[in-house]
């Protein structure tokens, strides 16, 4: 192993690590605010990559009908609650109208736009516009009715949602894999080392997203409200922060991060409808290193996972996955020995 190989491996590890870090952050975010372990996070990655690939191939993706279905489902529940006049009823106003108009607009765009010839930023924007609303909609339909259930129930529901989303992914995108054209197709030579511009792009976008999250949580009222809800749900509620809003907002962010990660990773590899799980699992290992509470530790942990993955694949490719996932054991041991035991708040 010489320096050049080390640099290339490091570059590979950091690129993957950046994606894992984004996923680790959103897993920590969703867990702290809603106590949901977001196992379907990986599906957003796969959906993002495959939707982007379908758009670039100029084929209208059936994923838009998933959006339509979820919007209609959510609207139907609103109507039912309105008719029954239960205490949770939302007045049927703008948001409700949006649930009907938005999917219609998306269907129209999907089948009318010259998808393949759109500029790349527009393709990305359209992919996000299709997929990000799935986050809050899934929260509304799946998690909101059981928001007060024990964490274990939420975990089981997460697994169920993961399995269903993989199934829907197979239905919508088919069993074949896909990859997309790079955001920037160039190779930079720095000191005799070839660095793909796409790599820099991934790291740049990851840093940008992390910075944006930092500003959101540090500087804005909504971000602070989410942090409050994460720290003390009951207290935040007493202060007038709606847990429904907090849940939807975190799922919005999680879907955004997931779909964006998919768009970022799609040019570098082949993504299948079921590829997302293993990617988010590595993000999960990162978030475990952060104890599922600390953002910087989770991000750092995820980058370490990426690096260990790259180097272990070089030294012992047969045992790569075993090495990566065994990493979790000493971390859990350390965490359980050092952290104070907290009673589950029920």
């Amino acid at each position: 192993m010489n320096l050049q190989i080390a640099v290339l491996l490091g570059q590979d590890g950091i690129t993957n690590g950046a994606i894992y870090a984004l996923l680790a952050l959103s897993i920590v975010l969703v867990f702290t605010v809603t106590r949901v372990l977001l196992i379907p996070q990986g599906e957003f990655v796969a959906y993002g990559a495959l939707t982007m690939a379908a758009i670039q191939a100029g084929q209208p993706s059936a994923v838009v009908w998933l959006l339509v279905g979820l919007c209609l489902g959510s609207a139907a529940i609103d109507v039912a609650q309105h008719l029954l006049r239960s205490e949770r009823a939302v007045p049927l106003r703008w948001l409700f109208a949006g649930k009907l108009v938005y999917p219609a607009v998306m269907v129209l765009l999907m089948y009318r736009l010259p998808l393949a010839t759109l500029a790349m930023p527009l393709q990305i924007a359209f992919t996000l516009a299709l997929l990000v609303p799935l986050g809050p909609l899934l929260y509304r339909l799946v998690y909101q009715p059981i928001a007060d259930a024990p964490a274990l129930v939420l975990l089981i529901v997460s697994i169920a949602l993961h399995v269903s989303m993989v199934g829907v992914g197979l239905l919508v995108f088919g069993p074949g894999g896909a990859s997309t054209t790079p955001l920037v197709d160039a190779v930079l030579e720095i000191g005799g080392v070839r660095i793909k511009a796409q790599t820099l792009c991934v790291i740049g976008v990851a840093l940008l997203l992390i910075g944006a999250l930092y500003l959101l949580f540090g500087r804005t009222l909504y971000g602070k409200a989410l942090r409050a809800a994460a720290m003390n749900r009951m207290g935040a509620r007493l202060m007038g922060i709606s847990p429904v809003f907090a849940g939807k907002a975190t799922f919005f962010l999680a879907a955004l991060i997931g779909a964006m990660s998919g768009v970022l990773i799609a040019p570098m590899t082949t993504i299948y409808y079921d590829s997302g799980f293993i990617i988010s699992l590595k993000g999960f290992v990162g978030s475990i290193i952060g104890g599922l509470v600390s953002y910087p530790l989770a991000a750092a942990g995820a980058v370490i996972v990426g690096l260990i993955e790259a180097f272990s694949a070089f030294w012992a490719s047969t045992y790569k996955e075993i090495i990566v996932f065994t990493l979790i054991i000493p971390v859990l041991l350390w965490l359980s020995l050092t952290s104070k035991h907290v009673e589950d708040e029920e």
């Binding site: 290339l8 590979d12 197979l170 894999g177 590899t269 694949a313 070089f314």
Partner: protein, 383 residues
Amino acid sequence: MSFKPLQSLVVLALAATFGAPVLAQVKIGVVTSSTGPTALVGIPQKNTVPLLPTKIGDITVEYISRDDASDPTNSVTEVKKLISEQNIDALIGPSGSPNAMGVIQFVADAGVPMLAPVGTAAVVLPMTEPKKWVFKTTQNDDIIAKALVEQMAKAKVKTLGVIALNDPYGENWVKVVGELTARHGIKIVATERFLRTDTSVTAQSLKVLSASPDAVLVAAAGGPTVLPQTTLVDQGYKGQIYQTHGAALPDFLRLGGKKVEGTILAASLMLVLPEIADSNPSKKMAMDYIAAYEKLNGSKPATFGANVYDAGLLLQKAIPIAAQKAKPGTKEFRAALRDALEQTKELVATQGVYSMTPADHSGFDDRGRELITVKDGGWKLLK
């Protein structure tokens, strides 16, 4: 063991007494992975089932198709159900190698012949008592590997790097290629593994590159065949890249694009059908199958579908022979069917010519594969 001929004599006598079974019906169970991770393989197989022969002589054949969702546990459940509830006479499937390995013991216990359209030679080799019931309708890895290694020797390749999938398929290839290359004086300088789910094989390909082999063999199946090759090309590898028959998919060309130009692989003649001489008996069979499949499904079949179609052809030949010995639905019929399958000689099918022996339950010879290369985004016969 002496009672068996006696038994078949009795059955023959009974059959003679009551006349040939006019409305005899044979039930064939089909288990494919039409959903789940192996769906790319299972879907063309499931779509081929309606093309299988439904009437052989005056025997009607009923196919009972089941999906195992790519899960080996499910395959076993489905197969057990087919045997106990439907009393099937033979089984076609399952799609995946691990799935097939899992059901062998159960079909052997029940005495049901199984025609496995799977890649791994482990379902028929080494031949054991349970595996006597299994017939494999794909080319064994060693036939394909022989063609590749001979080509390497011809191209004066001295050192070879291998990037293999970390599963039974890749494992078997590493073994087979290791033995063959040793015979031809080719040295394997690096053997790396990767996973189907890997998003990057940069490290493995760097390791192979640092050993600077004359050629690299990628031993994988389906979509994962592409990533190691594109990574190698991206990193500036200039040597020849070989692929196994696992790459013989439209997806390989679609995902690989320009970076897979010039790849050499050995696979079924179905890929280069127009270039095959008309004298090749398999050409007509394959063209008929493709035409029928296209008419029914509106798309061209992958070779995996042809593996199921060939299973139908094997049964078409064997069922009438077995029906002379026993009545469908009985244990004796299934045993006779197995014997008849094992005695298949020179059966022309879509992928080549089958000649089974008690030791070889795959039955392909060199007519079962062609050397193929990728040129201008399409498959071309290597000349």
